[in-house]
């Protein structure tokens, strides 16, 4: 059995799966249920100035009969009184001392407010803080949340205030609603944050009611942009995580990865790109806390199969695999092959290639089943046919190097080698 426990800046948790700061971590009753289910830690829903929430609060994107491929929300930070939250945090820490208890903070935009909030939370037993510089709705209008995270200099200033006071580890959570997460991330690291987490939610409109013409979620005939999350945002989160893991300033601090993580596989991907812990929200909101069971078991089995003893054996392993386009090997080439024994003759590869790619698939008409084969000389190896094929391993990509040696684009140009071979 592999050891899946993590040590994040001295904060220990039995597994890398934390619940993100969100409705599931708003109250003791939820967090106790989460810890009973086996979650390694929580980031308690953001504490700060008093707010008032509206109804409704969520809307979703469904796709191909699957509910909640993406979820957006317009809920603000915790709308419960601060003293109740703090009292409950103390109680939960006492009940579950082995779990990570991070408290998310978003104070009013002045030094005193931050210092006061930090003091109260530390007294309550918080093991670490996560600064909410990412909330894209409601708080930005008051100069908080994403309004801080979108301006590296404001973020730097707030982190400096926090670091003056905090005696426990500080994680700064980054907003994705920027051109690049690196400038704010670097400013925060330079200002002393102990760690980074990303991504927060992405501003979005999930859809519009075609009868009322009011976008979702509906609040008395109007709507607002909501923060988008769930499986749909994972690729964007992984990209942003990579930029943080590759930047020489930001890569110095540990990272907690967030964004559409629903399974142990998603979690492993975030960890391979540099995350030490991962935070989950939407998947739990869709299925409940029980999903953590398979996340732990799946991670454990995968680590055993790969021979990894601890999570540190693989964290960050894929960071160097993402390179610049100019460094890719132009002599690498592969072509598709269709396994005729596995083919079910659906024609999806054919029509995708014929209509939208390189006309590299032959069709031999039959009744009722056509046969499809690859024209190797036309195939550019784009993967599209393999991606749309409904049968696992029916279409495989077979390596057919153009030449044995590595050559990149810059070298290709320097040598004046031919272009437009397709």
């Amino acid at each position: 059995m592999a050891d899946i426990s993590v040590n994040f800046l001295g904060i220990k948790s039995p597994n890398p799966f934390w619940l993100a700061s969100a409705p599931p971590t708003d109250k003791k009753i939820n967090v106790v249920r989460a810890f009973e289910a086996g979650w390694g830690g929580v980031v308690w829903k953001t504490l700060g100035s008093q707010v008032k929430n509206v109804s409704s609060r969520y809307s979703a994107v469904d796709y191909g009969g699957h509910r909640v491929m993406g979820l957006n929300n317009i809920e603000l930070i915790s709308d419960r009184p601060l003293d109740i939250n703090l009292k409950e945090i103390t109680e939960v820490v006492k009940m579950f001392p082995d779990r990570a208890m991070i408290v998310s903070l978003m104070a009013d935009n002045d030094r005193e407010s931050w210092h006061e909030l930090i003091k109260k939370c530390e007294d309550a037993g918080a093991m670490g803080f996560e600064l909410n510089f990412g909330c894209p709705h409601g708080m930005t209008e008051r100069g908080m949340g994403a309004a801080v995270g979108q301006d590296p200099e404001i973020a730097r200033m707030v982190v400096e205030w926090v670091m003056e006071k905090a005696t426990i580890p500080v994680i700064t959570k980054l907003t994705p609603n920027v051109h690049s997460v690196v400038p704010t991330g670097a400013a925060c690291v330079e200002a002393g944050t102990n760690a980074l987490s990303l991504i927060n939610t992405i501003q979005s409109v999930t859809g519009i009611d075609l009868d009322t013409f009011v976008p979702n979620p509906y609040v008395g005939g109007k709507s607002v942009f909501g923060g988008y999350c769930g499986p749909a945002v994972k690729p964007i989160a992984l990209k942003m995580l990579t930029t943080i893991s590759q930047n020489e300033i930001t890569r110095k601090v540990p990272i907690s990865g967030i964004g559409g993580i629903s399974t142990w596989k998603d979690a492993v991907e975030f960890m391979l790109l540099g995350a030490t812990t991962v935070q989950v929200c939407t998947a739990a909101m869709k299925h409940g806390f029980r999903i953590v069971e398979d996340m732990c078991e799946g991670l454990n089995n995968w680590m055993d199969e790969k021979g990894f003893k601890t999570v540190n054996d693989f964290i960050g392993k894929s960071v160097e695999k993402i390179t610049h386009w100019e460094d890719l090997d132009i002599n690498y080439h592969h072509v598709a092959n269709i396994n005729q024994d596995k083919c079910i003759h659906c024609g999806l590869c054919y029509i995708a290639c014929e209509d939208t790619s390189h006309q590299a698939i032959n069709i031999a008409k039959g009744n009722p089943y056509n046969n499809y084969t690859i024209k190797e000389e036309e195939c550019v190896g784009c993967n599209l046919c393999k991606l749309v094929c409904p049968v696992d391993n029916c279409i495989t990509m077979e390596e057919k190097r153009v030449a044995p040696e590595y050559i990149n684009w810059i070298e290709w140009q320097r040598r004046g080698l031919p272009l437009n071979d397709h």
Binding site: G65, L348, Y350, I363, N370
Partner: protein, 446 residues
Amino acid sequence: MAIKNNRLTAEQYEQNFSDIHPPFETKEAAMVEANRCLFCYDAPCTKSCPTSINVPKFIKQITTENIKGSAHTIFSSNIMGAGCSKVCPVEKLCEGACVYNLMDEAPIPIAKLQRYSTEQAMAHNWQLFDRKPSVGKKVAIVGAGPAGLSCAHVLAREGVDVTIFEKEAKGGGLMTYGIAAYKVTPEFCEDEVNYITSIGGIDIKYNQELGKNITVEQLQKSYDAVFLAFGVGLARQLEIPGENLEGVVDAIGFIYDLRTKGFPSLPVGDSVAVIGMGMTAIDAATQAKRLGAKNVTMVYRRTKDEMPCTQHELDIAMLDGCNVMWLAAPKEVKGENGKVTQLVCDVMKLGEPDASGRRSPVATGETFELNVDMVIKAAGQMPFETMVQQQQIGHKNGKVTVADKSVTNLNGVFAGGDCVNGGKEVVDAVQAGKDGAAAIIKFLAI
């Protein structure tokens, strides 16, 4: 043993003759199946449909909640798409070709999805087709069955004024009169006919039989073109002793009575033998059992490998508790006091392949007896040879001969459906009606 009616309670009749293929109960249920569809290109299901319904498209339209579009896609290819969704032997057509079969997964329930869209269209009376302004041409159609209605609808859309002559009191043909009651109800058939004719320009004259009330010659004179779609109807005789005993009926008549007289009034024996193993034989056997017959035995002279019905249909009969005697050919019906008491059968074995390519059954000399009080003959249907001959329509063994799918020997007279092919599926007849309409449109240069 006796043949009698009113064997069951009202509740039992209701239960026995309720829809054998119930519809989706919820939109969600339909969506789950619709979303499973892979949206194949040049789809095997479409190619396996005699009317070439664009199945992936109409299913995709269900997933986008474009049900009107979905129904339009279906009806564009098959105006009886609603009825076909209930009666088509889809296991050997669209669903049999679904690529999921090749993955050993359950095929998409295409018929059920087709029913989902078409039932909504009929329930809301969506008018999905516009009739062009009248082009001043009149076409007579003989028979308001699937072929005739399909032809009529295409012509009506093109602005032709259509008159259909139907020998029965209702339209729908074998759909209305010749199919097991648990597949389609007479009420549904009537609704379907009304829905099809609601486009306008189609006038159905009932109780008008070719050779009795009208002649082809008259129609040729009064109309710009004629489409013959009078089907088949006469049950093939067994040509064995005792065939005229009381208790020997033919399946077509038996199902006709079932469809027209109401279940309780229809008499059925205690012990029934059904001759044949086609779809109609299955219908007759299951309906007899569901009317309250204690024993139903299907007698077929070949083996399961040669049977004309599908495995799915056979399963229905077996699950209803019908027995099957393979390699058994009726030799004689015996009776007492003019009533059936026994069916004597030859025990057969398979010999050399016959003209149909199937190994032909040969008598072994052994015989056996079944103690029955009713014999239902479902050994195929015969064309109206005498009538066809009298009307001077070119034919072969009573089946109307056509060139280019629907052109007969008579000027301006076209034909299609069972009267041409000798008896196939409803969906084949619908396609024949479309072919006939295309030929007529070309002939009239519309």
